[in-house]
């Protein structure tokens, strides 16, 4: 059984553009929806505030692993056990971590981006309960479903 997640996506933008969307902390924050306190520096921890409505109390924390210009950007990040305000704790000292890697390859039309998240074997069952991870999973999914439904019906 697979214990990692792998995604490949074709982006119609040059590698330079994609690299800056990943490596520049302000740009990263825009699409990832997190307000980061400072730039990404290899070997250093970076924190930020999650910008998803309803999850603004959650601190996003990552340790930057690798930054190979226009090729590879990777970090490990702390998993959040509880996302609701009552039970949430910003102490990540004992939180399990997974590794996130973005790999970039130039193509004829832009960039092939490969995302791999691994290390799920480190995440105990008690930490998997509400894997919102600062994301608005449910709603976006619902919106997509509605959009698809409407497109099919019309």
């Amino acid at each position: 059984m697979e214990n990692c997640i792998e995604k490949r996506i074709e982006l119609k933008a040059p590698v330079t553009r994609v690299w800056s969307a990943l490596a520049d902390y302000r740009e990263f924050g825009e699409w990832f929806r997190v307000e980061l306190e400072g730039p990404f520096v290899v070997g250093q921890v970076v924190r930020g505030r999650v910008l998803h409505p309803g999850y603004e109390h959650i601190i996003w924390e990552a340790l930057i692993e690798k930054m190979e210009q226009e090729r590879l950007f990777s970090f490990t990040w702390a998993q959040v056990q509880y996302h609701d305000k009552e039970r949430y704790s910003p102490d990540y000292s004992r939180a399990p971590r997974t590794l996130v890697e973005f790999r970039l390859e130039p193509t004829a039309t832009g960039t092939l981006l490969t995302l791999i998240e691994s290390g799920f074997e480190n995440v105990p069952a008690a930490w998997r309960g509400d894997a919102q991870r600062g994301n608005d999973g449910g709603w976006t999914q619902q919106m997509n479903n509605i959009e698809k439904y409407v497109a099919e019906k019309s």
Partner: protein, 115 residues
């Protein structure tokens, strides 16, 4: 099953590392596949059609049992092995949620760099 043994069973949640390791083997994966039809099987049934000995199959079944994936059930005078799909389903649902969140984040990245 008494209420006490039931609560004990629920409290026993194996570490995912043990679960992934247990499934990271072709023989054990095949055993899980055989048991996934729903019917508990005897060790003899599980050994039939395999090139492995009964002892080897038993050893693999013990690994799966430690990972909480199978358990031994009594059927008359015989022991049968049953699959417990719950730990597997839990992990799959979790990975599915994480996977869907990445789809959404990457879609936002796509519009961000392509606009």
């Amino acid at each position: 099953m008494s209420p006490r043994s039931r609560s004990r069973k629920r409290a026993h949640r194996p570490q995912p590392a043990i679960l992934f390791a247990a499934l990271g083997d072709a023989t054990r994966l095949a055993l899980v596949g055989k048991l996934s039809f729903g019917q508990p099987a005897s060790i003899a049934q599980l050994t039939a059609g395999s090139r492995l000995t009964r002892q080897a199959i038993s050893k693999h079944l013990r690994v799966l049992e430690r990972a909480g994936l199978v358990r031994s059930v009594r059927a008359g005078r015989e022991n049968r092995i049953a699959l417990d799909p719950q730990p597997l389903q839990e992990i799959q649902e979790y990975l599915h949620r994480v996977s869907r969140q990445w789809d959404q984040a990457l879609a936002r990245l796509k519009s961000f760099v392509e606009e």
